[in-house]
Each structure stands twice: as structure tokens, then as C-alpha cells.
């Protein structure tokens, strides 16, 4: 909704291999500034590899990854995070025996210490619950609460581009709805988002645009509303 034309994240002609296996095949994805884009696909369609390529955990053999127009294909992960990228990993991956506060602080590892207070206040405002639970060990929280910590932790670095890996995984249906409300809310504050999901219905209902991956290729892309109407997609992912 708040999206304008400047691309925040661009994947251009990406080919990623694991050894000899060709995983991502000529993948092109664009997320504009402040846009909410979802990346759909079944198992083994290359969703996670796409995220790893964006983060720099694996390097594409050919192709370019651009962040705000800058080519970051050869940069290590930490440098990409510094340029405004952040991720809410699959299964949240919190630091279990550390407190909520410490988890959040680790999210802002690359921020100057002077900015920390402002970041904390911003995140606490978004998730008041995290403020109340700041001394609780993250590993002792419920699944939905952990999702909030994971999102808060990612937002601590004040990202311009936020990646989300399966935010609905392991959550009760009511919490899935709630966490997508939060995603929408964060997006409306101006953060560009790429949400990787298997839950096509919910994610398309809040997204601006969507891509559908199948065995490493983008097989379908377009406005979220159009994709929701697409017969093929409905058969494949919505089961009706």
C-alpha cells in the first residue's frame, strides 16, 4: 500500500547450486521500498535457499543481489545486515537461556550503543508484552510469545528490508492470524518485507504482491489479489 517504485531488494538472474545440484534456476525477485511481498511454494521449491542467498549464507554461482540499489552479492552476512537487512528465522531460533532483553539487544548488535535505548523503546511500543517479560528467559515463553521476541529482535536493527521465514510455523490458527496482523502493522511503518510462507491464503490476503516458486523457478507472479483468484494456484496451494 505504502509501496512506491524504488526497489529495496532485487534478485536478478540468480542461479544457486548445492554442489552439483541446481537449486535456484534463473530467479528474479523484486521487493520495492515499503512493499509486502510473499514468496509461496511447496516443500523443496527453493524458498529457504532464496533467503540464504539474500543473506549471503550461500553464494549464487551467477546473478546479482542488490540492496537499495547496491550490489551486495560478494558481501558477507554482517555487511548486509549493516545495510538494513534483517531476518526472522524459521522456528524463530531465539537464544533460549538468555532473557528477552538480551535477545533483543543481540538483534541490535551492529547498532551503536547510543541508539540502543531508542530501539528498545520502539520495539517495546510495538510489543508491550516484551517490556513486561523483559527479564524472562526467552526459551520459557510460549510459541506465540517467542514469535514476538523473534520479530522484536529483528526490528532492533531498524531494518529497511525484513525477511520472514515461515512466520506461521508451529502457531495455533488464532496466533497465525495475530502474527500476520503484526506483520501488516510493521510493514505499514515503512519496512519492506519478504514473507516466505506455505500458508498461501493468509499471506496473500495481507501482501501487495506475490511470487510462487516451484523447483527453484518462479512459476507465477503478480498482484496478491490476482493470485488469490488464480485457478492453478488455488488448486495447488489452497486445495479448492
Amino acid at each position: 500500500m505504502s509501496a512506491n517504485g524504488t526497489p529495496m531488494l532485487e534478485l536478478e538472474g540468480i542461479n544457486t547450486y548445492y554442489g552439483q545440484i541446481h537449486i535456484l534456476q534463473d530467479e528474479n525477485i523484486v521487493v520495492n521500498e515499503g512493499e509486502l511481498v510473499c514468496l509461496l511454494g511447496g516443500n523443496a521449491s527453493g524458498k529457504s535457499t532464496t533467503l540464504k542467498t539474500i543473506l549471503g549464507l550461500v553464494r549464487p554461482r551467477t546473478g546479482t543481489v542488490r540492496l537499495a540499489g547496491e550490489d551486495v552479492t560478494q558481501l558477507p552476512t554482517a555487511h548486509r545486515i549493516k545495510r538494513g537487512l534483517a531476518i526472522v528465522p524459521e522456528n524463530r531460533r531465539l537464544f533460549g537461556p538468555m532473557t528477552v532483553l538480551e535477545n533483543l539487544e543481540m538483534g541490535a548488535y551492529l547498532r551503536p550503543k547510543a541508539d540502543l535505548k531508542a530501539e528498545f523503546e520502539r520495539v517495546y511500543e510495538l510489543f508491550p508484552l516484551l517490556y513486561e517479560r523483559r527479564t524472562q528467559l526467552a526459551g520459557t515463553m510460549s510459541g506465540g510469545e517467542q514469535q514476538m521476541v523473534a520479530m522484536g529482535r529483528a526490528l532492533m536493527s531498524q531494518p529497511k528490508m525484513l525477511l520472514m521465514d515461515e512466520p506461521s510455523m508451529g502457531l495455533a490458527p488464532i496466533l497465525v492470524e495475530k502474527s500476520f496482523e503484526i506483520i501488516k502493522h510493521v510493514n505499514e511503518s515503512g519496512v519492506g518485507m519478504l514473507v516466505v510462507e506455505q500458508n498461501a491464503n493468509v499471506s496473500l490476503s495481507i501482501a501487495d504482491r506475490g511470487y510462487v516458486l516451484s523447483t527453484g523457478r518462479v512459476v507465477l507472479e503478480g498482484k496478491a489479489a490476482d493470485l488469490l483468484q488464480n485457478e492453478e494456484l488455488r488448486k495447488a496451494y489452497l486445495g479448492r
Binding site: 552476512t77 554482517a78 537461556p97 538480551e102 543481540m106 517490556y131 513486561e132 517479560r133 527479564t135
Partner: protein
């Protein structure tokens, strides 16, 4: 733990949240978290006198614990004028330093460093190079000690450099190789490309004692007694290192180490410089180990390769694991307990008392006060006396072998356990192996069958102890360390004072 830091961050928000939550006590407050509000109700507390003591101890600040501990330690040479006790106190102080250093690498960094002892050795040798007759260099201590620390940290950094991408088993193998390399080089270093570098197995002699402001501190007092001043010096260094490490642990770097240990991938995608953090913890540990090495060289005025081999590595690891990897007070406690235990086991009389006390406590812990406890205790007593009198009646030589010391316990053992005058060569291995096998069988049985077997197993344990283990204190010490580690894995995997493990499911 993070108290001060937390308050600083939360203060500006406190007012804002208070306003939204103070809607009166009866109406359900908006934004009020029930879990937090009722948090106190869910906490179970011990009642009675024990509960009061526990609550009181909980509020004692960390520095008070440290001060008390150090003060008690300082009193040791005053309380006992035995050179032996003072020397052991020095060793334990060194163990405490080593355990603190290993805790940085293993407990905080989560890196399995099996070459740790090599850095201890490097420190000891580096000091001998810089301040001894070997090269004729006699740097004063306040120059050589910082130099040795820098050398230790640099070596740690260099060893970490090629291994920084390795984790777990692979890192362990590489660092273990480094320890082997260190031992090989020092043992054969008397002819290294035609030069005598390390003195080989004969070591380096005539290292300088500690010199403070121009005064030399002799390692031995008149009469050849060990100079307790060295223990005070190591203790002072220990306090400095302990406090410094505490600050490191509570800093952003300390938290980054812990998050790296918990989930390296998550730490990396937060933008943490994973490799430099690993190298830093490696270098920290190595520097502390090297620092401890200097004092060992000073005190004995010499250094030998064999002082830095695997048994010491295993001992330090046991200390860290027993005390609780990751907890500073824990590893210090572990060092004191294991250090003391190993010394007590040297003496047959003391170790006998320890052995029977451990058995009694173990049985008491397993059965509490119950009918089964009475059956086990009475059964074992009767079993022993019957076995003893049958053996004694058939041939007196079967039971007259014991001539141990240890007061009442020894007298009891002499009248209860069969100790032949002459033990046949096959008895030791057969009885030991069958004890281990029967102990394993015990874990498979339940109920009264287990108790029926437990009685002869306890007696067999006493038999093995009196006939086999007490005569060989050196292997016995390591067997006991192994038993402690196994017991820990079963009953308290986090160690005595270790952090709670919180698994994310």
C-alpha cells in the same frame, strides 16, 4: 544478572506504562500481563528454617561471596603450618585460574578446546625462556609476565585462526593435535635444528623467582618449606582475573559469546562477527592459561614437558563440568572440590573414609529413609560378616591381609571385607570387570530384584576397593573422576552451579 543494565534501559518507559496500567485494582487493566502479575504466586519456595536460610543466601551479593571465599583461602597457611597443605593450596589456586580460563572457551564461547593445557605449558616455557639461565635472559617479573600473557593470547589466536570455521568434534580434534604437537616439540626440543631449545625431557632449570620492586621472592623458605607468599600472589591474580572476566561476561561481548554458543546461525544473521568472537574467546582462555603457567615455573624454578599432558587436561575439564560450565563461581567450586578430592585420594586412610562415606551417602540418597534402606544396610552388613567368617573359618590367610590405616573405618573394614594375605594375579581384573558388569546389570533390574543384587554388588565394590584400588592410588584417582562425570551426566547434567538449560522446542 543483567540488573543494572536492564534498569537503565527500562526507566524511561516505566512512567509511560504505569499510566496505561493504573486503571484501578478491580477492573482488568489494559495491557496488563496476567502472567507477569501473578508470577510471584507460581514460585514454589522451600519452607521452614532451610527456606529462610536459602532466601537470605540468595540476596548475598557476588563480591561478598568472593571476598569470603578468598579470606578463608588466605587463612589456610595460617591455620596449618604444614608445607604439604600450603603446596596443595597453591596448586588449587592454579587450578582455579585454569578453570576460569577454560570456562571462557568452553562455557561461554562453546568451543571444545582440547589443546587448552598446551597454552598453560606455553606460558610456563615462555617464562622460562624470558627469565632463566637457559638463554641468560633475566627479565624482571613485571616485564616477563605481561609478555607471557601476550604470547599466550597470540598463540591462542594463531591456533584459532585455521580452526575458526570448525565446530564441535572437528575443533576438538584440531586442538588435541595442537596439544600433541606441543608435547612432541617440548619433549624433543633439546635438539631442534641443532639447538637446545626446550631442554627436552630434562626440562629447563633455574628459572627466576618472582621479583617485586627489586625484591626476589624465594620459592622455598628456610628448611625447604614452600613459601606461602606465592599462594597469596596467585590468589590476588585470581581475584583480578575473576572480576575482570565478570565484567566481560556482563558486557555486550559476553552476551554475544553466549548467543553464539546457543545458536551460531542465528548469531550470524544478527550480524555478529562470529569468527572474531570465537578467536577472541580462544585468545582470552589461552592468555589466562599462559598466565597461570608463569607461576608454576617460578615456584618450581623449572619446567618439564610432562607437567602438561592429558591427565591435567582431563582434571581441568572435570572441574569445569562438575562446577557447571558457564558459571564462574561454579568452575571455582569445581576446582576446589576436585583439587581437594584428588589430594585426599593420595592417602589410603583418607581415601578409605571417602569411599565408604560415598557409598553410605549414595545408598541414603537412593532410598531415603525407607524399609528398602533398612533392608539394604542390614543385608550388606550380614552378607559381609557371613562371607568374612566363612572365609576366615576355612583359612585364616584369606582375611588377614589388611593392614591399613584410617581409624575406625579401617578396623571395621578389616573385620568385614575379605582381604587375603596374598592376592592372586587374576583376582584384580576379574573382580573389577565383574563389578562394572554387575553395576550395569543393576540398572536393568527393578524393585526387589535390584535390591537383592545390590547387596552383593556393594560388598563386591568394597572387596575391589580394599584389594585392588587402594593399592594403586594413581589409576584410582582417574577412575573416580570418571565415576563423578558419569554420575553428573545422569543426575545433574548442568553441573553444581551451572546455568539452566533451556531447550527451544
Amino acid at each position: 544478572m543483567s540488573g543494572g543494565y536492564d534498569d537503565e534501559l527500562s526507566r524511561p518507559l516505566e512512567g509511560a506504562l504505569e499510566a496505561s496500567t493504573s486503571e484501578g485494582p478491580t477492573s482488568p487493566a489494559v495491557g496488563r500481563d496476567e502472567w507477569v502479575a501473578r508470577h510471584g504466586d507460581n514460585r514454589t519456595r522451600r519452607g521452614g528454617l532451610l527456606g529462610t536460610v536459602e532466601a537470605r543466601l540468595r540476596v548475598v551479593p557476588w563480591w561478598a561471596w568472593l571476598a569470603t571465599f578468598v579470606a578463608l583461602f588466605c587463612l589456610l597457611p595460617v591455620a596449618s603450618d604444614s608445607g604439604y597443605v600450603r603446596r596443595v593450596a597453591f596448586d588449587i589456586a592454579i587450578y582455579m585460574l585454569l578453570a576460569l580460563g577454560l570456562n571462557v572457551v568452553v562455557g561461554w564461547g562453546g568451543l571444545l578446546d582440547l589443546g587448552y593445557i598446551a597454552f598453560f605449558g606455553i606460558g610456563a616455557y615462555a617464562y622460562a625462556f624470558l627469565s632463566s639461565d637457559h638463554y641468560g635472559i633475566h627479565l624482571p617479573s613485571f616485564v616477563s609476565i605481561p609478555l607471557v600473557v601476550v604470547i599466550g593470547a597470540t598463540t591462542g589466536f594463531l591456533v584459532g585462526l585455521p580452526s575458526r570455521r570448525l565446530t564441535g568434534d572437528y575443533l576438538a580434534i584440531v586442538t588435541l593435535f595442537f596439544l600433541l604437537l606441543f608435547l612432541t616439540v617440548t619433549t624433543n626440543g633439546d635438539d631442534l635444528f641443532g639447538h637446545n631449545v626446550t631442554g627436552g625431557a630434562n626440562g629447563l632449570l633455574n628459572a627466576d623467582p618472582l621479583s617485586l620492586f627489586g625484591h626476589e621472592l624465594p620459592p622455598t623458605l628456610e628448611g625447604g618449606l614452600f613459601n606461602p607468599a606465592y599462594m597469596y600472589v596467585v590468589l590476588a591474580v585470581f581475584v583480578v582475573v575473576y572480576v575482570a572476566l565478570r565484567f566481560v561476561n556482563l558486557s555486550r561481548t559476553g552476551r554475544a559469546w553466549r548467543s553464539l554458543r546457543e545458536d551460531p546461525l542465528a548469531a550470524e544473521v544478527m550480524g555478529m562477527p562470529v569468527n572474531s568472537l570465537k578467536l577472541m574467546s580462544f585468545a582470552f582462555g589461552a592468555a589466562i592459561a599462559a598466565l597461570s603457567g608463569t607461576f608454576v615455573t617460578m615456584l618450581s624454578a623449572s619446567v618439564f614437558p610432562l607437567s602438561f599432558s592429558f591427565p591435567l587436561l582431563i582434571i581441568i575439564y572435570t572441574m569445569v563440568i562438575l562446577g557447571g560450565s558457564g558459571s564462574q563461581p561454579g568452575v571455582v567450586l569445581g576446582a576446589v572440590l576436585i583439587g581437594t578430592l584428588l589430594e585426599l585420594l593420595r592417602d589410603p586412610g583418607d581415601s578409605r573414609v571417602l569411599f565408604y562415606a560415598a557409598i553410605v551417602l549414595g545408598v541414603l540418597g537412593a532410598f531415603r529413609f525407607s524399609v528398602k534402606l533398612a533392608v539394604v544396610v542390614a543385608g550388606t552388613f550380614v552378607f559381609g560378616f557371613v562371607a568374612h567368617s566363612i572365609a576366615g573359618a576355612s583359612d585364616n590367610a584369606w582375611v588377614n591381609g589388611s593392614g591399613g590405616e584410617g581409624g575406625g573405618v579401617a578396623d571395621f573394614a578389616a573385620n568385614w571385607v575379605i582381604v587375603p594375605v596374598h592376592v592372586a594375579a587374576w583376582v584384580a581384573p576379574v573382580s573389577y570387570v565383574s563389578l562394572v558388569a554387575l553395576a550395569l546389570v543393576l540398572t536393568l533390574l527393578h524393585g526387589w530384584a535390584r535390591i537383592a543384587l545390590l547387596i552383593p554388588v556393594l560388598y563386591l565394590a568394597a572387596f575391589v576397593w580394599e584389594n585392588v584400588m587402594i593399592a594403586q592410588p594413581e589409576p584410582t584417582r582417574y577412575i573416580i573422576l570418571g565415576v563423578i562425570l558419569i554420575a553428573l551426566m545422569i543426575f545433574r547434567p548442568t553441573g553444581l552451579l551451572g546455568e539452566k538449560r533451556v531447550e527451544i522446542i
